[in-house]
């Protein structure tokens, strides 16, 4: 809505509060059916003669039944209503409170309202067309407002209804408020989304990325509002050339990014350079006040041939001292990652293994592990750059908000637990001297990075955010510094191998310690899964957990399968399929939260630690309003 309109509506509805009230009702009779009841309400028992008039179309719905938003989603249709007399009321406008999302069988979705909803109706009364005051015994007259309404209500089944609602609206010079309907209507006016232009200091940028043929994606970035993981949602209005899929919502401390997969209704038909899209974003807040936002504006369509608008605006250069500080933080942050439970467990096992080789072996093994760590950091730098190209928000602190990445970290932690328990033989943490070797330490180093990056060390946010807003060289350099920090214990070992002393005799406590550390890795897996629960539905999380359990079962069977090669190979395949299954389940938006279920299960979810304000390239000044 435009800013002036919401003020007009509020004024029109608040006006009755300042007028005297009486006990008379200001509503049509309820039209009742087994699924719903509906009536027309007015905030006035006696309305002023002329001016703005806000009415309401009030629905009460039986449990599980819903009526629709202006875009009904995959099925259904929104209420259609015409008002009479047109010569007095003109063409009143039906307004749309922020909707909810309903998941239907077959992956279909509907947008609408359940329980109760009042659609505000904005009308203007033309005084010249009103009946003469003398025609009424009260001396001020009245007129009948008739609403011809068609609506559909659905649960799983759908039932359409058609009613004529009639409300006699008394008029007078002394207007009289209605104590029931006036506050009710105000409540629902408050639930109308605000215009973007109505929220000061809000930055909005939108882009329709059509660089991937047949799979365009809309990106909407809002900065200056707080979103709620699992609750904030985006509803796109119908568009004649594109269908919208379920948005991915990335929540940061004071910003939110929506990625909406789109499907062209006609293949091979190029999209225009600009396209008008309208949307409503729900469950946003600022300064403790909750609201929804709506916007309708032209969105630029980006194809591979043109540079992305945001890329033209490079972030401002940092001063040399600031860069030095960021590098230092990257180094310290990387070093701190060694204290995360999984990295610590692997580090302890590595040190225990290195104790069993000679001084040269310690030096070579530690150097190999450090090389693996820095190499894997570069690998993640490449991944961050690649995902930035495909529209994923890159940044440290948000990694567990991307279900596929969170699932990858969970698989890594679970794999480490299985390894420490002796169920997976890939020698990440070699147990004995016979199994050590430079290659194996390199592997342990490589594996350290996905274990470490699961942990949101706050110190790393700013340097990584700074790097990710710049070119590949800076990204590679900063990730390398983080790698050096993470590899610090190994670098010390390589330089001073005498730090570890060989054991005088083999000790049984070493293997017990390994098994114990396995539980630490297992607990880390659970922590990651807990965080993943903000992003996926409870059912989806259960499937991921089942896949991880399947992984453990197959690893256990394989460890006890004897020497039968075919059997062991089959179990290894199953193990790999389970690990891949976890990632697959978390990808493709299959497990995005079902709003209602998530709300019921996690009413007090807190936003995950997110990005600092300057993490990506700045939002371009192509801001626009409603």
């Amino acid at each position: 809505m435009n800013p002036s309109k919401i003020a007009i509506l509020s004024a029109a509805v608040l006006a009755p509060f300042f007028a005297p009230s009486s006990a008379q009702g200001a509503a049509s009779a309820w039209s009742v059916n087994p699924q719903s009841r509906v009536r027309l309400i007015s905030p006035w028992q006696v309305a002023p003669r002329g001016g703005e008039l806000v009415l309401g179309l009030q629905f009460r719905l039986a449990p599980g039944w819903h009526v629709y938003w202006k875009n009904s989603g995959d099925a259904g249709f929104p209420p259609v209503v015409t008002f009479q007399p047109a010569e007095i009321l003109g063409k009143p406008e039906l307004l749309w409170p922020t909707p909810s999302r309903f998941e239907l069988p077959g992956g279909l979705v509907a947008f609408g309202y359940e329980g109760e909803v009042v659609y505000p109706v904005h009308a203007t009364v033309w005084p010249d067309a009103l009946p003469s005051p003398a025609a009424s015994p009260a001396g001020a007259g009245s007129f009948f407002i008739k609403a011809d309404l068609d609506y559909l209500t659905c649960k799983i089944d759908c039932v359409p209804y058609r009613y004529r609602l009639t409300l006699e609206q008394p008029l007078g010079d002394q207007s009289v408020t209605d104590p029931e309907t006036s506050p009710l209507l105000q409540t629902w006016i408050d639930r109308l989304p605000r215009s973007v232009a109505d929220v000061p200091d809000l930055e909005l940028s939108t882009l329709l990325d059509a660089s991937r043929p047949g799979a365009p994606e809309l990106e909407i970035r809002l900065r200056g509002v707080t979103a709620q993981p699992g609750k904030t949602d985006l509803f796109l209005e119908s568009n004649e050339s594109l269908d919208a899929g379920k948005p991915r919502v990335k929540v940061f401390p004071e910003s939110v990014i929506f990625h909406v997969p789109l499907k062209p209704r006609e293949v091979g038909k190029p999209l225009p350079a600009k396209i008008v899209l309208a949307w409503t974003a729900s469950n946003l807040s600022r300064n403790g006040e909750s609201f929804a936002l709506e916007s309708r504006h032209e969105v630029g369509v980006w194809t591979a041939a043109a540079p992305k608008p945001g890329e033209r605006n490079q972030p401002p250069a940092q001063s040399p001292s600031r860069v030095v500080q960021l590098v230092l933080w990257a180094l310290l942050g990387g070093a701190l990652l060694n204290l995360s439970p999984t990295v610590l467990a692997l580090l302890v096992c590595e040190v225990l293994a290195l104790r069993q080789v000679g001084r040269t072996g310690v030096r070579e093994g530690a150097a190999a592990a450090a090389t693996g760590i820095v190499g894997a950091c570069w690998g993640f730098a490449a991944l961050a750059l690649a995902t930035r190209q495909t529209g994923w928000p890159a940044g440290f602190g948000s990694q567990l908000q991307e279900p596929a990445l969170g699932a990858l970290f969970a698989v890594a932690a679970a794999w480490l637990a299985l390894n420490l328990w002796g169920l997976v033989e890939v020698p990440l943490a070699p147990a004995g001297a016979s199994r050590t070797g430079t290659g194996r330490h390199l592997l342990a180093g490589l594996f350290t990075v996905p274990l470490g990056l699961a942990w949101p060390v706050p110190m790393l946010r700013e340097p990584l955010g700074y790097a990710l807003g710049r070119g590949p060289a800076m990204v590679g350099a900063v990730f390398a510094v983080v790698g050096f920090g993470l590899a610090l214990p190994y670098l010390i070992l390589a330089l001073v191998p005498a730090v570890v002393r060989p054991p005088s005799s083999p000790a049984a406590w070493v293997s017990r310690l390994r098994e114990g550390l396995g539980f630490l890795a297992g607990a880390s897996t659970l922590w990651i899964l807990h965080d993943l629960s903000r992003e996926v539905s409870p059912e989806g999380l259960a499937w991921i957990e089942l896949s991880l359990l399947g992984m453990a079962l197959l690893a256990w069977l394989r460890a006890r399968a004897g020497s039968g090669k075919a059997w062991r190979f089959a179990l290894a395949l199953g193990l790999a399929a389970c690990a891949a299954g976890v990632l697959w389940l978390a990808d493709h938006n299959r497990l995005a939260p079902r709003a209602e279920a998530a709300r019921a299960l996690f009413p007090n979810r807190k936003p995950f630690n997110g990005l600092p304000p300057a993490v990506r390239e700045p939002i371009p000044n192509q801001t626009s309003g409603g």
């Binding site: 099925a75 239907l104 359409p160 209704r265 293949v267 190979f569 290894a572 493709h588």
Partner: protein, 201 residues
Amino acid sequence: MRTDAKIRTLLLAVAVLLLAALPALASGAVGETATAFKLKGVDGKTYSLADLKGKVVVLEWVNPNCPFSDRHAREKTMSDLVKQHGEVVWLGINSSSAQSGEYVKPADYQTYIQKNGINYAVLYDESGTVGHAYGARTTPHMFIIGKDGKIAYNGAIDDDPAGRKARPERVNYVGGGLNAEKTGKNPDPAATKPYGCSVKY
């Protein structure tokens, strides 16, 4: 694990992922080649899209328990179009799952067909495979497949979800699309938003 075994494992995992992603690739967008199917009709015959090569085919997703589908059956919206366009093959497809509360047994559907004078075949897709392949969302949801085997129209039957208008006042998108097909033109509009009940997959 030997290197070749590792590669085999990786290939298998990729194959599993690709197979699993197949349903997500289907869409039924205008301009795409219509997905082939073979379904059994309530008349006991088997219908295959491949057998209808070179003909204009209309697919209508149906559900006699959906008030929208039922209204159009009673008003003979579809049956009258079938009469007007004798050269067109019109197929109703019921993708309601047998577990859905709105499932109608084929024998009962036959009675419904006779009662409403439905003059085209209705096919059963209880698994929802064909419905998902076309991205069918509502009953009714209409598709016109051109003689070239490509989807020429995807969307609503008309512009009157509430059924408020008299029939002559409605813009019948499918009727317009079939007229365009006759003259070798593309339907305009080629895509609209379908309305009605959700398909009961």
